[in-house]
């Protein structure tokens, strides 16, 4: 399970993904060459008929099925009224009476086309008869000559991972939502209203707090034959990526294909060979993690392997280490997600709670530093424009809410959840009140109330819920 931070990192790294499709809707300056420029492997383009019949959905569905799925191709529908659509129409001499599709190479050469929905087999065979090479094939060709090329290997790992995940999903169905989402904001309450509606809060008691589900639904494991067929290729490449040390070229900000490729597939838990691989690789990752425990990217990779094996606690990794001289916190902030995921997995929040608390305290301190800095800036601006000494030091500072700053966000929700799960209701209430005083919004109160209900703290749920108008 990933927290918001990881999700955001993935979002940032999206440009490192192997293919990119330009949004053509409404852009009348876009040329066909530019659309195809991002697809050296070729792509399926389609045009609707003048009556609005479209093949887009049929093509997308065909591309998701065997054997076409192996090609990992993208498809895109171009608007008839747009320059780029007209260009494709002209290129093929298509009439507007019927919808059309075409397999087009990066040089605008059309390798197959039709006006009926293509079958997955037809797409696959047309592609195989063309001189086009898939991204994975292109990368493999390149790696035969450039054996040690980290970037290319990372991208090939991502390509094979994506294909294997699609195949697994087709076989087992889409991944169910994780049992305890990070902020638990959308979950229905599971506990009984045992602490009563009178808002009485008792510190330290966990008796009246519903524990999170500790028994996770049984995971479907792929049978050996399917496992080998789907995951062998990825397992070999991933194993090589880790054991040869390619994964260590991690960008300081954790972005880029190497960081993404370093994380074992989310679907690994369904693959016996990936679980075995994770068990084998985990000690290598842990050695490197211990040498650099403040590296969030290394923790992400460790977490991805640990999720597959279900073994080892983050505190065990840090055992025997000491914080660096000058470090302001221990365990390092980078390990926060790992501890939170451990807590969500096991239902035991004892280790995560102090780390979340430190994080909250430091964030609060930073918030105050920003307020002071803002006053200083205001004062300087005052001096620059009015001269003399400013009166800004007594001025109220509005911190803004660009990213829910200081508001009810994932990390604060997690801290409150930790407090609730551990029965520290008064502390949970205090934190909520601090945040609500800063951001007195309905969504804040509603989110907190839902969380409290989920954790079985019904009294608090009702108290906080009453603040939502």
């Amino acid at each position: 399970m990933r927290t918001l931070k990881l999700a955001f990192a993935s979002f940032l790294a999206i440009n490192a993904l192997p293919a990119q499709t330009l949004v053509t809707a409404g852009d009348n300056n876009l040329s066909l060459a530019r659309v195809l420029r991002f697809h050296p492997e070729g792509m399926l383009l389609c045009l609707p008929s003048a009556q609005g019949q479209s093949l887009a959905q049929a093509i997308e569905s065909a591309l998701d099925q065997e054997p076409a799925v192996a090609l990992q191709l993208s498809s895109q529908e171009l608007g008839l009224g747009l320059k780029v659509g007209a260009e494709l129409q002209r290129l093929n001499g298509w009439s507007s009476e019927k919808p059309h599709w075409a397999l087009v190479g990066p040089d605008k050469r059309v390798h197959a086309e039709g006006s009926e929905p293509p079958t997955p087999r037809l797409i696959f065979e047309a592609y195989r008869q063309s001189p086009l090479r898939t991204r994975a094939e292109g990368l493999r060709d390149f790696l035969k000559i450039n054996l040690d090329h980290t970037d290319a290997l990372a991208r090939l790992v991502l390509e094979t991972r994506s294909l294997a995940e699609r195949r697994t999903e087709r076989l087992l169905g889409p991944k169910p939502p994780t049992p305890v989402p990070e902020s638990s904001l959308s979950k229905e309450g599971t506990g009984e209203p045992k602490d009563g509606p009178n808002n009485s809060i008792q510190e330290g008691s966990t008796a009246n707090i519903a524990q999170p589900p500790t028994v996770l639904p049984a995971l479907a494991l792929l049978p050996e034959e399917q496992d080998a067929k789907i995951w062998d290729d990825y397992a070999a490449l991933y194993g090589r990526f880790i054991t040869e040390g390619h994964w260590l070229d991690l960008a300081p900000d954790g972005s880029g294909p190497v960081s993404l490729a370093g994380q074992l597939s989310d679907s690994a838990e369904h693959s016996p060979r990936l679980i075995a691989l994770a068990q084998k690789l985990l000690p290598i990752i842990e050695d490197h993690l211990r040498n650099r425990p403040s590296d969030e990217a290394r923790w992400q990779i460790w977490t991805s392997l640990r999720s597959a094996t279900g073994e080892v606690r983050p505190s065990a990794v840090l055992q025997g280490l000491r914080p660096l001289p000058g470090a302001q916190r221990w365990p390092p902030a980078a390990a926060l997600n790992a501890f939170v995921e451990e807590a969500q997995r096991t239902g035991n929040w004892h280790e995560a709670e102090p780390i979340l608390q430190t994080s909250y305290d430091q964030n609060l301190e930073f918030l105050h530093a920003l307020e002071a800095a803002s006053r200083e800036d205001a004062s300087q601006r005052w001096i620059a424009t009015h001269g003399g000494v400013s009166n800004a030091s007594n001025t109220k500072v509005e911190m803004g809410n660009y990213f829910g700053f200081g508001g009810w966000n994932g990390e604060i929700a997690l801290l409150v959840e930790a407090k609730l799960r551990l029965g520290k209701l008064a502390e949970a209430d205090r934190i909520f009140q601090e945040v609500y005083a800063r951001v007195p919004k309905n969504a804040t109160a509603e989110g907190a109330s839902t969380l409290a209900r989920t954790c079985g703290a019904i009294g608090l749920a009702e108290k906080w819920g009453r603040l939502a108008r």
Partner: protein, 458 residues
């Protein structure tokens, strides 16, 4: 009155490299953030390595028209006993606005004095009027929480010799000490970007973030062999160890992005970089898009007075079947600081020309029919268009024109300039281009460009 803080960072977004995020915001909202230097400093402090953040700042208020007190403190901080403590110092002139503000905020009498101000609480921890002796001042520092981190990190490494983080922090501490000592011997002061912000020089901060600047060492005293070793031996030795062990590939060198570029004056460092640059080039062969390797390679090249770009670029094999620009845009931008020969400039011209030809550019797009050509901004649509044109100028056309001129291809520069002016009808362009030509030592081109108008409005 309520002040709004444009907050580029949230509690959930610490994962993002502040440098990129803050810069992105700063560039997209320059008018808003220009008055936000303290806010930027707060972000920088938060994102600085924990052990590189000082617990307090020394604020020195000089009497009007003198710098006696800050000069005295500058010397004191360079004293052998004080070198282990990296004390950040900010000087204020008594009559200045910031000086008055310091006095008012701390309820001081208007006279020359110093204060050691706690970073967290912003309250003075110690203060005085004259320069204290080293031991007294060290006592104040220790009380404020300053530590000899080099000593502590060395002890830590005895216990955990494989700790990359300890090596990294030790290297950074030694780097800071080296920079201070080198500045003292060379008789110059080179500002870091953080210090630019301390001075309120937001424009300088942005300039340094977007384009790597060369440090002007022409007025510096040369380092003699003893001074060179005195300043840099410890840092060089640690760096050498890290290169020998191969750990350098996993280590972040923040000083190649934000350090004081003093290494050119050090024979020790020049020789070390010459020895190890091939290792960095070999790593680039494996991972040519990895920006950390490029940062280090560019730093090493800059120190050695440049290195031919074309052979290295020709030897690297970018990954096929990707959509990303090759070489990465930030790398191409940074290569500007190491281009030294006509060949280098020609290489850069080709890279920028490819960018200019391949990607869509507001400066090449025909101006909308109702676009004003007077240069005056009218309405938000005009403001946005002007901002986009300016961004395109800074990111692509300006470096392309500069590399054309410096590689001797003035005709191509002329053609590109006219193409952009005719298409965009952006009336700020002639002045900007003329200034660039003048900077590149082409006054005739500058004169021609400065009076140019779009072809159909002549």
């Amino acid at each position: 009155m309520v002040f709004s803080v444009p907050s580029p960072c949230s509690l959930n977004l610490r994962i993002i490299s502040f440098r990129r995020l803050a810069l992105g915001f700063a560039l997209s909202m320059p008018f808003t953030l220009c008055g936000q230097t303290a806010v930027m400093r707060a972000h920088m402090d938060r994102n600085a390595g924990e052990s590189t953040t000082s617990p307090a700042t020394l604020s020195v208020l000089d009497a009007k028209g003198t710098s006696t007190l800050s000069d005295g403190f500058f010397s004191l901080l360079q004293a052998e006993e004080l070198r282990p403590y990296q004390v950040p110092m900010r000087s204020y002139a008594m009559g200045s606005g910031t000086g008055k503000d310091l006095i008012s905020k701390n309820h001081l009498l208007p006279k020359a004095q110093w204060l050691l101000i706690d970073k967290r609480s912003s309250t003075p921890l110690a203060q005085g009027e004259g320069i204290p002796d080293a031991q007294t001042f060290i006592a104040h520092l220790k009380k404020a929480g300053f530590r000899d981190l080099v000593k502590e990190l060395r002890a830590y490494l005895k216990e955990f010799p494989d700790s990359l983080e300890a090596h990294e922090q030790l290297l950074n501490q030694l780097r800071q000490r080296g920079e201070r000592a080198a500045q003292r011997y060379m008789g110059i002061q080179v500002e870091t970007n953080r210090e630019r912000l301390d001075r309120g020089d937001f424009a300088g901060y942005l300039r340094a973030e977007t384009a790597r600047e060369k440090t002007d060492l022409s007025k510096a005293r040369p380092l003699d062999a003893v001074q060179d070793l005195e300043a840099w031996a410890a840092f060089a030795q640690e760096l050498e160890t890290i290169f020998q062990s191969g750990e350098w590939r996993e280590i972040d060198f923040p000083w190649v992005r934000g350090g004081r570029a003093l290494d050119t004056a050090s024979p020790t460092l020049r020789s070390l970089y010459r020895r190890w640059q091939p290792a960095v080039e070999a790593a680039l062969q494996r991972d040519p898009a990895f920006e950390s390797f490029w940062d280090l390679w560019i730093w090493m090249s800059q120190v050695q007075g440049g290195k031919p770009l074309a052979p290295l670029l020709a030897s690297l094999k970018p990954t096929p079947f990707t959509t990303e620009q090759w070489p990465p845009a930030r790398v191409v931008q940074a290569l500007f600081s190491v281009a030294s020969t006509q060949d280098d400039w020609h290489t850069l011209e080709n890279l920028y020309q490819a960018q200019w030809d391949d990607d869509p550019h507001p400066l090449r797009e025909p101006a909308p029919k109702n676009a004003t050509i007077s240069g005056a901004l009218q309405g938000s649509g005009q403001e946005i268009r002007a901002a986009l044109l300016d961004q395109d100028w800074t990111a692509c056309l300006a470096p392309l024109l500069e590399s054309c001129i410096r590689s001797g291809d003035t005709n191509q520069a002329d053609a590109l300039f006219i193409q952009a002016l005719d298409a965009s009808r952006w009336m700020a362009l002639p002045a900007k281009a003329a200034e660039l030509a003048k900077r590149c030592g082409q006054p005739a081109v500058a004169a021609r460009w400065s009076v140019s108008r779009p072809t159909d409005s002549r």
